[in-house]
């Protein structure tokens, strides 16, 4: 046996150790099994996943949902109405025992009914100085505050988006003019403008609205919306403009232009979808600030019209009897804090989840 054939023998032996059955081609199912495609995911889905992991944000979210649902549905079945003065029944003398009840106290008439064995719905938070059930007033006030916050943010969002995207996309002189207007509005003292506008609008609107369906909403709330529309869109406009300015330099915008797309198409299809996370986040953070503004305006007496309550006006009314009934101030204050805090925390969570870049 020569040296060479020995080597060959060795190679043969080596090959003997390999089990050929291991090398049959994979069947279609096996291939399917081996090639695991990651399911297609989008930035949005990723963001939702990150948001769900954030416990603080999720707890805040559930609190907001519970408060919102309560504000919408509780007044529908609650036996008392927010404007109902319980001591003033038509055809009967005024029953002053309904006024200023402590939580879970009953007036003399109610106590009489209870003594007869009838059930009377309790006044969970007592009643106010005019004999109105305080719980339903707080719930209704929450409803008003949330509605103001929500719609004001939508107004801000719409105006800010329009102005900001046009300004950012057009650039040049258009941008210059719009941004100088924004600067001017920015430089006005917020609080002063809000108070001045609120008191002026309150007078002019009250007479104009007489008899229209808007009268029911109340001139004050409408003037609140106008204030938001006039003053608070600027930061949103700036934000959107900044986003669009950086996005429009992207090559896909140029590609869309090369395909013949017009400005409005590019803004709608490319620019806004790409800054949607930033917009959603800042809108979510805008809601608490709107609620807060509404509250302090109401507290100053420039908010909603009586007898409609808002959390701010409830707190303001409570100041009169602060020493005897401190809970009347504490309750709306807690609700405001809870709403504003959860919205802020949720907004922060949104930002962390959808826009890691802004994290700071």
């Amino acid at each position: 046996m020569t040296e060479g054939s020995k080597v060959n023998e060795n190679i043969k032996n080596l090959s003997m150790q390999v089990n050929l059955d291991d090398f049959i081609p994979a069947t279609a199912e096996e291939k399917e099994y081996m090639v695991q495609m990651r399911p297609s995911t989008t930035a949005f889905k990723d963001g939702i996943r990150r948001l769900r992991k954030n416990k603080v944000a999720m707890v805040s979210f559930y609190i907001i949902v519970i408060i919102t649902l309560a504000a919408i549905f509780v007044p529908m079945f609650w036996p008392y109405k927010y404007e109902m003065m319980l001591g003033m029944q038509p055809g009967k003398p005024v029953d002053a025992t309904f006024n200023n009840l402590k939580p879970f106290e009953y007036s003399t008439t109610e106590q009489a009914l209870r003594d007869q064995g009838q059930s009377v719905f309790p006044h969970i938070f007592g009643t106010d100085s005019a004999g109105r059930d305080y719980f339903i007033r707080v719930v209704y006030g929450t409803r008003i505050s949330l509605a103001v916050g929500f719609f004001a943010s939508i107004i801000v969002l719409v105006i800010g988006l329009l102005v900001g995207s046009v300004s950012g996309y057009a650039g040049g002189k258009v941008d210059m003019v719009i941004m100088r207007i924004v600067d001017i509005i920015y430089s006005l003292p917020d609080m002063l403008m809000v108070i001045l506008l609120a008191s002026v609008l309150k007078m002019t609107l009250a007479s104009k609205l007489e008899g229209t369906p808007l009268a029911k909403i109340g001139s004050n709330i409408i003037s609140l919306f106008i204030i938001f529309a006039l003053l608070y869109w600027v930061s949103m406009a700036r934000l959107v403009r900044g986003q669009i300015l950086s996005l429009r330099e992207q090559e896909y915008v140029l590609a869309a232009q090369a395909a013949g797309a017009k400005g409005s198409w590019v803004i709608r299809k490319h620019l806004l979808p790409n800054c949607v996370s930033v917009i959603v986040i800042s809108t979510a953070l805008q809601i608490p600030s709107a609620i807060f503004t509404e509250s302090y305006l109401s507290f100053l007496g420039l908010g909603v019209n009586a007898p409609m309550p808002s959390l701010g006006s409830l707190a303001s009314d409570a100041l009169n009897g602060l020493s005897s009934y401190p809970y009347r101030l504490v309750i709306p204050a807690i609700v405001i804090s809870l709403i504003v805090l959860s919205l802020n925390l949720f907004g922060d969570g949104l930002r962390d989840a959808f826009d890691p870049k802004l994290n700071g």
Partner: protein, 331 residues
Amino acid sequence: MSTELKSVQPLIEVRHLKQYFNINTGFFKSTPLKAVDDISFTIREGETLGLVGESGCGKTTAGRTILHLYQPTAGEIIYRGKSIKTPKDVEEFRTKATMVFQDPYSSLDPRMTVADIIGEPLDVHHMYKSQEERRQKILELMDHVGLNSEHAARYAHEFSGGQRQRVGIARALAVDPDFIVCDEPVSALDVSIQAQVINMFDELQDQMGLTYLFIAHDLLVVRHISDRIAVMYLGRMVELADADEIYNRPLHPYTKALISAVPVPDPNVARANKRIALTGEIPSPLNAPSGCPFHTRCPYAKPMCSESMPPFKEVEKGRFVACHRTEEINS
């Protein structure tokens, strides 16, 4: 007969094209940046014109201005004998001339699926009657560029660079154009992928009768794909000739230097070739030298070069050079 007509009339004719950008140099002062300064050339139907030059010489700007993505400062673009002037002309031109971009990452919208990206030009120009027709067209285009139809619903970030560039090419083909400006379409890709994409450009040209303006700085790639090559320097065109001519017998001193810089695989040949090393930096286009823009770095420069701009003239048939001393240098 029709072929004869085609050979007479160029597909695209660029006449004295200028593109200046105003750059703010002071608070109230702005200086024009001459990105493209008076270039003229023609592109014949079915050919590939390569456009080469250093970074910042205005290649990309030239390509974009030809497509009217920037409003030209002066000069005109003539497509099939018709000058493109009004917005309506431009709109019509957009269905005939499209663009493939350099960066396959930023040129695809991250929020859109591949099908929507490819279908966008169709949407913009309302080029379908039903959603079904749109879908069919998109799948056809994907097939053309070698993409799997299963990928239609995926987002661009799920693809590799080569696949993304294919998406970009499919988008450029969507409106069934005659003319495509390819703006360094392979420079962002791996070398192995470059070859695939370049070959695909070639095949598509044969299949669909496309005309390319192929912008690149990789001279070997340009030589491979181009019929003719134009060389730009500092916003001006310095030489235009057949691809092989430019490589074998460059006439302009800048082209000579450029060609001598092309790496040669054979070390013996490489050593034998004398590399012409240019001294100095490319001047700022904000402050371009007087006369011939190349005179500051030209080894053959004479006083006259800094005084007057050499005309871009035809020295041989189909061969244009902008140099005062073409004859002296090359004889």
